[in-house]
Every structure is written in C-alpha cells, then in structure tokens.
C-alpha cells in the first residue's frame, strides 16, 4: 500500500467519521517495500495540493522516513513566492496559453526546474514506497486494519458499520 494512499485513508467506522483523531491512521509493525513506478511530473503536480502535509509528516515519522519529507508542501511554497506578483503571473500564463504550447513550455519550465528534483524525491516517497505487511490503527476507536501483501483489509464487522 503506497504512502500516498494512506494519506487519504480514514477509519471506516461510522462513529469515527466526525472525530479528528481518525485521520491519519497510524502504522503498527509495518514492513516497507519499494516498487518502481514511472515518474510523472504532471500527476505529481495534480496531486500534491491534495496531500495533507501534517498527516504525511506523521506517517513518515512513524515509519522512520521523516528525513525524506520537506518541511512544507512544495505547492504552498511556490504559491507563497508567487503571492507578490500573482496577478501578472496568471496573465502571462494565460497569454502563453493563447499563443501556443511552445511558449507555454518555456515559460513554465523556469518555474518548475527547481521543483523537478523535489517532485522526483516525493514521487519516490509517495508512490514507490509502500507497506506490505503490518497494521493500520485508528487513533480514535483503536480498530486495527490488517495489511497483508500490500492489501489492506477494510471489511468491518456488522456492529461497527
């Protein structure tokens, strides 16, 4: 199970839906595995704004991978630096879009060249690192979801549904 997926998982128990403790789920006795997946910067850019950075930091710390997580979501950092001249930037991009893709590519490349390296490292962490064996534990109700061969068991007994 990819680290990316665990960043979106919550406890399935009905009463936990409202509790902030039910997210993120905590790892227990986790065994890690690395699988290779093609790097796709487009996908990473699409997804990163949705990643909950606090949860990712927590999960990575539990797995001993905290060194691999940047302190801040790179998407937020870029947005902040753009904050001063945001309007002009948007306009410029829109113009570039209108004129054609070649110009657009050169325009955006300057922005993303620094990012590419960070994206690749995050791709490594989020998509290629996975948990094969272990348990996910809800911080609220304490229910344990076993993971076997990378497949999480999220079937609930009838009284918890």
């Amino acid at each position: 199970m990819k680290l990316l997926t665990t960043n979106f998982l919550t406890c399935a128990v009905k009463t936990c839906k409202t509790s902030p403790l039910s997210f993120p789920l905590h790892f227990k006795d986790a065994t890690l595995e690395r699988t290779e997946i093609d790097f796709d910067p487009l996908f990473m850019r699409n997804l990163l704004p949705r990643v909950n950075w606090d949860a990712l930091t927590t999960t990575a710390t539990e797995l001993g991978l905290q060194a691999l997580v940047p302190a801040k979501n790179p998407v937020d950092v870029v947005e902040q630096s753009r904050g001063d001249d945001g309007d002009i930037d948007v306009q410029a991009e829109a113009e570039a879009d209108a004129e054609g893709t070649t110009i657009n590519a050169t325009e955006t490349n300057a922005d993303h060249e620094i990012e590419e390296e960070i994206l690749r490292r995050l791709h490594n962490l989020l998509l290629e690192t996975g948990v094969v064996e272990g348990k996910l534990v809800c911080g609220n109700c304490g229910f344990e979801y076993p993971i076997k061969e990378g497949v999480g068991n999220f079937l609930l007994p009838a009284h918890l549904v």
Partner: protein
C-alpha cells in the same frame, strides 16, 4: 441467463475457481476492456489522475487505467479476486479488501474520478437481515460523493436486473447529491450496457455528455415536465363552456341526439327569486 447476483454473496461467489475463470476468459477480458475504455471516454480526463476503482476484481479495468497514465486505488470484496490481482504482474494500483456497501473509507475530496465496472448491481442484494439494499446504496453513494473532488465525475457500468433496480440505483445516486444520468450502449439488444454517469457538484450531466459522439439524450425530467404541462393545458375545467362543447361533440360523434350549440350554451341562468 442466470445472474451471479442471485446465487451467492459476491465474496463467496467469486471463489478461487470462479475468479480464475473470470480473469482468464478472453471473452470477459474483451468486454471488460471495451467497457473500461468507454467509461474512460465518458470521464473525459485531461491529465493523469487519481482514480478509485470500485469492484476492481482482478484488476482488468485497472490495467487500462495504468496504461493511460493514471494512478488508481481498487476496492473489492472478494479475497480470491484480489489474490489473482496480486499474482498478475501488470496491476500497479493499491488494493483494498472492502465492502462498498459499508462506505468508502477515504477522506473528502480525494479522487479525481471513480470508475466501476460490473459491480454496483451487487448493492441491491442484502446478505444479512440487519442491512437493506437501500441502506447499502445510500452508504455507498454518500461515501463516494464525499470522497470525490468537486467537479469530478464517476462512471459506473452495471447490470440492472430490471427497471426497478435501475431506478433504485439512480435514485440513490441523485439522493446523495450527484448529478446523474444513465447511458445505454446497444440499447434494446441482449448486449445492452448500462452506464450510470455521475458528476459531483456539477449539476446537469446531460450538458457534458451531449458533446460526445454516439450519445442520444432522452431527458427524463423534460419528458415528465412536458407531460405534466400538457396535462394541465389540455384538460378543461369541468363544467366550463369548453368542457361542455367537447362533451357534446363527443356525444354527437357517438350518434346521440344533442341539442345544437348556441350563444346560451354553458351560460349560467340568472339568479332565482
């Protein structure tokens, strides 16, 4: 033809032998692939996305998602199916053993899209007495609605047993907040494929689908509205001049003797002393 839904619960029906049969049958592989491609076409994704595959089975549909550069997460209730998915090499998505009728355990706004091939008709079965099809459908669609990003779309291909099941499923989707539409390929034939196309927070689904090729829209709402309006317009108020004239005409046509029309027809008599 017998329906697996009528025989056993999904986790028992798709045991090791049945799952292996399902995955290796080239006929099923072809059908699944064409339906997945059709669903992807309906989703109309413009960039590599994060997709939920509900009832992913052995990953036949996921394989196609991976080919298109998407990253997917699959849910299925049958351990045997998931086992086969693990053995097959080209399954890249994350798998979960989970019951869609128990909800979708992801936080709000997770996925760009959702896809489901030949699965959600199973929701119409209740295997134990403490659950009902309605409850399972509600839980599923509520969970799905929450887990999708605003503006996202979901396409669920399913095999409804009858019209009643079809309405039950689509109504449950609408109740959860989806803009919903049903698309039929090869309608009226034995090979009819039913797709439930859902959009989150996007309101009208017909607008988005209408641009696509080979899609005829039969808007249930407009039809109903027109019928309603027509009924109100066409019907005269009982006792009015219009109504009386119509009645007289009808009787005349039947060959009855009817008083001829005059300016007094349908008029009130003056006040009585």
């Amino acid at each position: 033809m017998s329906r697996p839904e009528d025989l056993l619960p999904p986790d028992l029906y798709y045991n090791d032998t049945e799952s292996a049969k399902y995955t290796t049958s080239s006929r099923i592989q072809n059908i699944q692939a064409s339906m997945t491609n059709r669903a992807l076409e309906l989703l109309d994704l413009d960039r590599p996305s994060f997709i939920l595959d509900i009832g992913c089975g052995s990953g036949l549909s996921g394989e196609i998602l991976s080919e298109d550069g998407h990253i997917w997460v699959g849910m299925d209730i049958s351990p045997s199916m998931l086992d086969i998915a693990l053995q097959r090499e080209d399954v890249e998505g994350d798998l979960f053993l989970a019951d869609m009728g128990q909800g979708i355990p992801f936080r709000p706004g997770t996925f760009d899209a959702a896809i489901s091939i030949s699965a959600i008709q199973w929701l119409c079965n209740a295997e134990t007495s403490d659950v009902s099809p309605e409850g399972r459908l509600r839980r599923f669609f509520d969970g799905l609605y929450a887990s999708l990003r605003r503006g996202a779309r979901a396409v669920c291909q399913f095999y409804p047993k009858n019209d009643q099941q079809r309405t039950m499923i689509s109504q449950a989707a609408v109740r959860a907040g989806f803009g919903a539409g049903i698309l039929e390929d090869d309608g009226g034939t034995k090979n009819v494929k039913t797709y439930l196309v859902l959009s989150v927070g996007g309101g009208d689904i017909t607008g988005t689908v209408s641009k696509m090729e080979g899609v005829d829209i039969e808007d249930g709402r407009k039809l109903r509205e027109a019928m309603h309006r027509g009924k109100r317009k066409g019907e005269d108020i009982k006792g009015s001049k219009q109504w009386i004239l119509k009645k007289k005409e009808k009787m005349k046509n039947k060959g009855k003797i009817v008083k001829s029309d005059s300016k007094y027809t349908g008029r009130r008599r003056g006040p009585k002393f």
